[in-house]
């Protein structure tokens, strides 16, 4: 069974007099363990698609099944629980809590997941060790480099062992060398069986994925297979 299955997904924004169709009937299927890149120019609808897949927003029309659950009809709090358990986000701007330590940032999803303190701290420390930040758990984002911040964000995304890692331009705000490190980390996560969806506009970055989806005008323009999933 596919991890992600969308069927004729539409997203329409009502801008008063005109209706803007950000997505025009997207149907995709992503299996567990896939590593997919989504590419497209700005305004193509790739961000809207990511928001729908990430359960941050709901489609105007169409159906979306994640891990067998029909999430397209869920309301706010159910979606919040799905985001908490099934999805880990990595953003271009890191989106860490600026005043909290790395440890607390990583612990946060577990707090909302209702886990107890001991378990939380243990899991958060472990996640930070996985991204090689075991020495910097008590540092605040302002005391870390861009690459380190993004690794904290990845630790936060992965700490709850989600079914899906969603990364939106994860290397957009860091230099190429550090970007390569981050991509290396993604490859490792993929090798460990995690499903990753990566949004980018850089071909070099997209080539790290197994498959690239090209989006234009709210539709899938073409699909390119970089390598066969092993």
């Amino acid at each position: 069974m596919a991890l992600i299955e969308t069927n004729n997904l539409w997203k329409t924004y009502d801008m008063g007099k005109v209706q803007v169709h950000a997505l025009r009937g997207i149907s995709i299927k992503i299996d567990k363990g896939d590593y997919i890149a989504v590419m497209g120019p700005s305004g193509s609808g790739k961000s809207t698609l990511m928001n729908l897949i990430g359960c941050l927003d709901t489609p105007t029309q169409g159906e979306y099944h994640l891990n067998g659950k029909r999430v397209s009809q869920m309301h706010d709090d159910e979606l919040a629980e799905i985001r908490n358990r099934e999805i880990g986000f990595v953003f271009q701007t890191f989106n860490l809590m600026p005043r909290s330590t790395a440890l607390h940032n990583v612990e946060l999803p577990l707090i909302y997941g209702g886990r107890n303190r001991e378990e939380r701290l243990q899991m958060a420390r472990h996640a930070l060790e996985v991204v090689n930040l075991g020495e910097r758990v008590m540092h605040k984002p302002s005391e870390l480099s861009g690459g380190q911040r993004q690794r904290v964000a990845i630790a936060r995304a992965m700490v709850n062992k989600p079914s899906l890692l969603l990364a939106d331009e994860p290397t957009g705000n860091i230099d190429t060398k550090t970007g390569d490190e981050i991509m290396g980390l993604f490859a490792e996560l993929h090798n460990n069986g995690n499903t990753i969806i990566l949004v980018t506009h850089e071909m070099d970055i997209a080539r790290n994925a197994d498959r690239i989806l090209f989006i234009r005008d709210g539709q899938i323009e073409k699909e390119e297979i970089v390598r066969r999933a092993s």
Binding site: D57, D76, R83, N84, F89, N95, R117
Partner: protein
């Protein structure tokens, strides 16, 4: 427990904005302090009044020409037209009232000058009272004795004085047996009253009791301000004693059967009730006016929370993206306003109790911290936190994650 964690997040957020939180807290503190101060002071004041009135004793009542509950202006003018009291009423009550134990007639005045040799005191409260008065009022004999029925009957110039007279006129001598001059008439001191202490800035020991008949002879009978003090045999027969007294007075004053009494009977309870009535508007008015500052405190909280929600829109978006539900966000912001208001409330209560105490001490009254005021303070401040915090918190909770995340 997730709510404990959310509570800690709220505390951290407040701590991160220390100055702003402090100023908001100050707004609540000012509001709660003023309300608690006023309530404490009023409660203390009313308590002292009650204590003062209770000195009359539960079995004693007063018969007065003008007094009691005045319901209208007309009733008041009707009242001051009442006939003056006559001296023989006391005797009449004594004869006819079976359940009255002690009866004493009283007239009073303020003496412009009381002298002993070269020492002088002015404005001394002179009570011309029957010999039973010592058994009716709260004053007790410390040294010497109160005057007798014979001394009253004979109009003897004897005086029973309060401790202020003793302290001011006889600093180092025993005043008993000495002669003082009240308005240039000589009186022999025969006894000293136990100290009463001052209440409401009024010195209850700056007083001289002289026999009623002596007072009548020396100062004239001010018939318009005669008061009859009556002590019933027990609390059970108080009503009967009052009824019997009423019958006597109605007969003596020729009140037709279909007319109301043209005199008033006052007990400690009725005096207190009257005092309550008179001061009710003032008390509620004061509390009402000071409550405005509480509302201002609440508005400050709401304002700050609105700013805070807008400022932290992105933070809310991040929290939502990693799984915070609406109520998680709601409670975080509600906890923040709650901590501010209850924190301000607790500090305000402490300050208010202290200030109330200070105010009350200024007019020489005792005050115990009012439990009512404290509970009210906690209740009101937490209510304010929730009431003024709920709207900003709901606004935060309902933010759309996508919009919140892209907020600059």
């Amino acid at each position: 427990m997730i709510y404990w964690d959310i509570f800690r997040m709220a505390l951290n957020a407040l701590w991160a904005n220390r100055l702003r939180s402090g100023l908001t807290l100050l707004g609540v503190i000012i509001g709660v302090t003023s309300v608690i101060t006023i309530i404490s002071a009023i409660e203390g004041f009313m308590g002292s009044v009650q204590a003062e009135i209770n000195k009359l004793g539960p079995t004693t009542f007063l018969v007065v020409r003008v007094g009691g509950i005045i319901t209208s202006e007309d009733a008041f003018f009707e009242m001051i037209k009442r006939k003056p009291f006559e001296v023989e009423y006391a005797e009449a009550i004594e004869d006819a009232c079976e359940d009255c134990e002690k009866i004493a007639m009283q007239a009073y005045g303020f003496s412009p000058e009381v002298k002993y040799r070269d020492k002088k005191l002015s404005n001394v409260y002179i009570r011309g009272a029957g010999a039973s008065m010592i058994d009716i009022v709260d004053y007790e004999v410390e040294h010497g004795r109160f005057y007798s029925y014979e001394e009253d009957y004979g109009g003897r110039r004897v005086a029973f004085v309060g401790t202020t007279i003793q302290k001011q006129l006889f600093p180092n001598i025993d005043p008993i047996g000495k002669t003082i001059k009240i308005n240039n008439l000589k009186y022999d001191i025969i006894g000293i009253a136990k100290e009463q202490g001052a209440t409401f800035g009024h010195d209850a020991d700056k007083i001289i009791f002289i026999p009623f008949n002596t007072f009548a002879k020396d100062f004239g009978t001010p018939r318009r301000n005669l008061t009859i003090f009556v002590k019933a045999r027990s609390i059970d027969v108080l009503d009967k004693a009052m009824d019997q007294t009423r019958v006597v007075l109605r007969a003596y004053r020729h009140v037709p059967y279909d007319k109301e009494d043209d005199f008033s009977l006052l007990t400690a309870d009725s005096i207190m009730e009257q005092f309550n009535n008179i001061t009710r508007f003032m008390r509620f008015g004061l509390i009402g006016i000071t409550s405005i500052s509480l509302i201002v405190g609440g508005i400050i909280i709401m304002n700050i929370m609105m700013v805070s929600v807008t400022e932290r829109t992105r933070e809310i978006g991040i929290r939502k993206s990693i799984g915070a539900r609406q109520k998680d966000i709601l409670f975080q912001f509600l906890f923040e306003s709650f901590i501010l208001s209850v924190g301000g409330g607790l500090i305000g209560i402490s300050l208010g109790v202290l200030l109330g105490d200070l105010l009350i001490n200024l007019i020489n009254m005792d005050m115990t911290p009012s439990l009512l005021a404290i509970l009210l303070g906690i209740g009101i401040s937490s209510g304010i936190g929730i009431f003024f915090g709920i709207y900003p918190a709901m606004k935060a909770a309902r933010l759309q994650p996508v919009k919140a995340l892209s907020y600059e």
